[in-house]
Symmetry: C2
Subunit: 176 residues, 2 copies
């Protein structure tokens, strides 16, 4: 499995729809079906995004998700950390003190400070995270905007409105 998993890929795609919507609050099922991915998979991702303060869930007939803050304040790194947890790129086992020459009693110099191999891996991880922190939902969304025709965003909004109306009608029928 890749370090940055498909949960992140699917999560970002669905979050990008929240940048597109006007005044709607799609459910995680709406977002999953709009994106053409498994609703149960997305249903597990959105509570993590909510816990991280990236989306906000509103309950009720018109309830659903919206972004919890402006999309320019949500970085790709925020989303990766929210979904994956802060899993390290490298998990140092600290084997430097095990050298046979130390005969089971490693001297202070051998184990003091950070292991130089671990240090390089942490630097590599920082470079990766810095790059992810430079991109936001807005910069990703703009790259779609540049390609999509003008009628794409309205079409998405109509699709989501239809879903929302259909959900309300169903609830009304059940209640009547």
């Amino acid at each position: 499995m890749a370090h940055i998993t498909n949960s992140v890929e699917y999560g970002i795609h669905c979050l990008l729809w929240l940048v597109y919507v006007d005044d709607q609050q799609p459910s995680s099922r709406d977002l999953a079906e709009l994106q053409g991915v498994s609703p149960s998979f997305i249903a597990k991702i959105f509570p993590k995004l909510e816990k991280a303060g990236i989306v906000r869930a509103n309950e009720g007939v018109r309830g659903g998700y919206r972004l919890a803050k402006p999309p320019q304040d949500i970085t790709v790194l925020d989303i990766v950390d929210a979904i994956e947890g802060k899993k390290p790129l490298f998990d140092c086992q600290e084997i430097r003190g095990r050298c046979a020459v130390f005969e089971g009693d490693p001297p202070g110099w051998a184990t003091s400070g950070l292991c130089s191999i671990h240090k390089v891996m942490l630097q590599a991880e920082k470079s990766m995270r810095d790059t992810l922190a430079q991109e936001t939902l807005v910069s990703l969304s703009q790259s779609v905007d540049r390609k999509a025709p003008n009628n794409f965003s309205p079409k998405v909004n109509v699709w989501l409105s239809d879903r929302s109306d259909s959900r309300r009608r169903k609830i009304k029928r059940k209640g009547s």
Copy 2:
């Protein structure tokens, strides 16, 4: 499991001993036992390093491993790629064409060029790899040298010589 695994950690530690040795060619078992890690684990790593042109194996009684090129020409990235293979940080599933609005027939603009999410992940991977390419076996070795007392390198060489002598004696006894 972390993206950069313990095989890399153990492999680099053992390679650093090859920077330390004078005119010796330790076996992968010698290197593993000097480092205090599993010989069978290291025995699986060194053929990969040999295939990548990082170490050279010589056969015979005095046979074993040595670096195949100067340690300043062996980067941490070379070692990671040799041991892990070039596994991607992110494995894009290309779900952008699945949007329900496209009704199963995504327009060209939606799937042309690189997916913007994939692009960000490739940039992050490049940042990580660039950092790993900046460090070599020499820079890592120097960071150990700065900490270790002057008698450490001779001690390691004596330990390895003793192992090598003991191996030769065993082979001689078997042959006599």
